[in-house]
Symmetry: C2
Subunit: 489 residues, 2 copies
């Protein structure tokens, strides 16, 4: 892209100045407009050292009310904690809220290309990252984000001139880093890595804009006019649904809930004996897991009163509390609701060697959010694929991903609800909402069936826990967790 890039014709100095003013005044009106439209805008600046990204950001934000934007500088190395999360993590948690601009002084391109050039990424890992980035950028735009990506391009000669200019003055000398000098010295090598990255991540939903940065004012005009056009296009697209993607993930065949036999049970003695054995085994595995730095994600979904809580307790009962977290998932907070719906789960990922247990999960999207109309039909239809993609990221990172559906029949739920209602110390566990959800049993059952069919992948399969006999379900869960962890070793 950098080699065969058609440079747009640069207008005269006066023309540039006049058009910059016009674009600036347009942009200044967009702050309020994107706030009203709840449009989140990511503006990513990448490019050569000394190509003027910093001053371009400074000039662009000058025209926006400070309440409407944030700036993030992402070119610092990952912290030790961040290194124990997936590559995408530290970027994903930085996405803006709906209705705000966020400007990024370099983003994942910077990290990936540096790692590539400095030999820290082999072909296979490079391609994994490219896939992760493309999937994420598409997920963001599908979910209403505007993602604008600018690459500031200057020639080797121009870069050299600027670096020498900075070095010549003792007040600016500090701004030239070793990395900048390396880049200029091995310009062609960097060019080919940048060029490949730009090609590999140039997608129709989030295309690259190559900015001719040979002149600062002219670069500013290009950024401003592309940005304004991009905002106009995104405003038009906001009301549109997004095409559902085809599923290309390897699926495991799942039964319908109505086909699941629920008469399985254990005697108290069988239960106690197995429980002790399995918890001891899991305890040992947890230590091993920690040493091998394998992260584990366990997702629980199921009917109200199916016995999720008690089931989770039997897992955590075997674990060292320093090595796991249980995340009870309720409705999202306002700052969570203002972002991509997976954001709050990205934020709760375990570190390597740790276990995260989710009591209810991202699958709320295709159950409660679907049935209560908390998201659009297009949103939940798209979500099956987005969750398969999310879990693929976790699996590729090396995580063990286990998903449980805790299953009971309608009558069992009624019995347990009635029992809760009639037992004073259990009454807190039952709410009007539980009774309302019960009325929608059939709709939920359809939704669950569709979810199981569409999201049980070979790398993150669903397991049904028959929980009319809770003891049976607990033992089965422990066995599956143990098996899955063993397979990962």
């Amino acid at each position: 892209m950098l080699n065969d890039y058609v440079r747009p014709e640069q207008p005269s100095k006066e023309d540039v100045r006049e058009r910059v003013r016009a674009e600036q005044s347009k942009l200044s009106t967009y702050g309020m407009k994107i706030k009203e439209a709840k449009l989140p805008v990511m503006v990513i600046f990448e490019g050569w050292g000394s190509s003027g990204k910093g001053s371009a950001i400074a000039n662009v934000i000058k025209n926006i009310d400070p309440r409407f934007f944030q700036v993030a500088t992402m070119d610092k190395p990952a912290t030790p904690d961040e290194l124990r999360k997936p590559f995408l993590y530290r970027y994903f948690i930085e996405i803006p809220e709906a209705g705000k601009f966020k400007f990024y002084d370099s983003f994942w391109m910077n990290e990936v290309t540096r790692d590539r050039i400095e030999g820290r990424l082999n072909d296979e890992d490079y391609e994994k990252r490219i896939r992760s980035i493309n999937v994420t950028e598409r997920q963001l735009t599908d979910n209403g984000y505007l993602v604008m990506k600018f690459f500031f391009h200057i020639s080797r000669k121009e870069q050299k001139k600027r670096l020498q200019g900075l070095l010549a003055d003792k007040n600016t000398r500090w701004r030239v880093s070793d990395a900048d000098l390396q880049e200029n010295k091995h310009y062609d090598k960097y060019l080919s890595v940048y060029d490949k990255y730009l090609k590999d991540t140039d997608r129709s939903q989030a295309p690259w804009y190559i900015i001719d940065a040979s002149n600062r004012k002219w670069a500013e005009l290009q950024v401003l006019s592309y940005l304004n056009l991009g905002i106009e296009t995104a405003m038009k697209n906001q009301s549109l649904a997004v095409p559902i993607l085809q599923n290309t993930f390897p699926l495991k065949h799942m039964p319908l809930l109505s086909e699941v036999a629920l008469d399985k049970s254990l005697t108290d003695e069988e239960y106690k004996e197995r429980l002790d054995e399995l918890q001891a085994e899991l305890h040992d595995l947890h230590n091993k897991l920690y040493r091998k730095k394998i992260p584990v994600v366990i997702a629980y979904e199921g009917w109200d009163a199916a016995g999720k809580g008690g089931n989770i307790k039997r897992i955590t009962g075997a674990l060292d509390p320093r090595g796991y977290t249980v995340h009870p998932i309720a409705s999202p907070e306002p700052h969570e609701k203002a972002r991509h719906y997976l954001w709050r789960f990205w934020n709760r990922l375990p570190k390597t060697g740790h276990i995260a247990i989710f009591d209810r999960t991202w699958y709320g999207r295709v159950m409660v959010e679907r049935l209560e109309g908390f998201c659009s039909e297009n949103d939940w239809q798209r979500a099956y694929n987005e969750m398969n993609e999310f879990e693929k990221e976790l699996a590729d990172w090396g995580a063990v991903v286990i998903k449980f559906w805790v299953q009971i029949d309608n009558q069992t739920q009624l019995d347990r609800f009635t029992d809760r209602q009639n037992t004073p110390e259990k009454q807190w566990k039952i709410t009007d909402e539980d009774w309302r959800n019960r009325d929608k049993w059939d709709l939920y059952e359809d939704a669950v069936n569709e979810m199981l069919q569409k999201t049980s992948t070979t790398y993150a399969p669903w397991y049904i826990l028959e929980s009319v006999d809770k003891k049976y379900a607990r033992i089965k869960a422990l066995e599956i967790v143990i098996d899955s962890i063993k397979k990962a070793f």
Copy 2:
């Protein structure tokens, strides 16, 4: 993709047979459904020699009524005529009509990977092709096509076994080609080229399905179930608008029509003298063009009675009739309307060394089709980018692309209409529709302005021909054509 591909678990023989039957009967009902929904379905089979593509196609079509599908075998080399068209041409003209299946026994992947392996495509040209293919597949899906791409994957050992089996029997020996043997011999080399191609063209709108083709029945099950799922998804998507893409093409700044001074004119003497000179020059250039094999596309749009016909005549007057074609563009025929709206223009491209002049063009999409409601708002809003992409293909192929807007003012049109009405030998030139269009002058003017702003690229610019004085417009057109061709040399 082939290296790290997660093979789905193969069910038992009986399961496969049973599920194949279920998928077959589902597919057999889809013929009528896609006809009713006017959904065009492209099913592309690529893969290793002897991987069983042919028999898979045979088994799949068995379940579809012959009125609903066609099969195209695309692995023959391009004809000499096809070689004088852009690479995409011979594929694009083979797209199916709305409401029909078309099965392809190999498609552009086959040609590109062969050319790559056999050294006929350098890096740059390979990347151009990848870009062309990605753009086209996206354009097709954006315009309602379902594009399913299957790659039949077998191991080197399995392929060898099959080839030896075929060679051992004199009745099947002929089915083993030299190319197949080469492929098996240099399996790893082919694998890496295939793998790269699959990665380079795996896009969310038209993803690749890797088919585990180690067993024929199992391969058939995979194809059938992916195909059925794909059709179901496409049916759901049919009612959805498609997001408008951001413009990343280098645009030329264009004036508004109201800013164009129309008082330019030539005396009869000036006109005659310049006309003779310029036509002589163009005549010479046409010969040179032919020898240099440069194709030229000249597009004319403009107000009714602006003088397009007479202007075109002054161009063709200078040309050897064997080297150009004028295409008058009226409303599309039914078989044209049933396909992507650019199909009829792909079909009318010049050969290298030839000139194609379009009297009205693909820009009808954003003028008459927009204003008369012949396409949806989403269709014409998407079209600006699609046309920039179409013309980029032509420019990358080496074509000179020139676009004229023939401009007059409202009063001049009224005068010319009145003159036509009152002059018996000119009456055929004026219809009720012309008068009706006149009433929408302001709407058309807005549409033309938007078109000029959004589609005047550096590689296919618009030129405004001031045609109140037709002589002036003719001379200007000739000058621009001559200049543009000269620049291409």
